[in-house]
Amino acid sequence: MSNQNSSSAPSGRYQKKFYFSRRKYCIFCKDKIKLIDYKNYKMLENFTLETGKILPARVTGTCSLHQKQLSKAIKRARHMAFIKFVEPKRG
């Protein structure tokens, strides 16, 4: 995407940016997971904060269809005492 030839003037709307952030992608779409299992609680913990709050999709990059499933799976895992409910931050 970037012009390696520095002498040429920047053209196009994408080249106004002078920094590049790695594009986020949905991890579940990459692995082609159809149903998210609530028993896989170690994986679910990656999508929660230390306090137990569910991370928003804009942070993790999951697609909306998977985020819906994920939030439900986390809530089921909480019910079955695999992961904690939301706790206030200590200290």
Partner: protein, 138 residues
Amino acid sequence: MNRHYEIGFVIDPEAAEEDVKKVIDSVVEIVKKANGNIENVDEWGRRRLAYSIHGHHEGIYTFITVNMKGAVFFEIERRLKLNEKVMRFIINRLDDKMKKANRLTKKWKRMERLSKRTAEEDTIEAEISDEKEEEDHE
């Protein structure tokens, strides 16, 4: 119409092994009476809980996957609710043919088509930009 379900429950850690077996057998009986199939009984055994339930820090986990009619759901739910040794339970569908799974497969197909198209466009754009650069240098 038979569907796949997963039944999971957490039993009091102070309960004897027989009690655990009784709960499992009661579920199996109900399903078999209604012409359902038991596909798998997964006993996880004693595990630490993430938070205490009724003052207990441990629980005995079991998961049963089942192929049964939807109406049996309520019978199992009622039985598990009545049992005092069952601390928590959950029943949910496992089918790959569910709506949400279907929507995902559709989405992936669309994405594939799009990615192919964009790849073709990129190659065309790159050729055009190369030509332009050459003109600029001249």
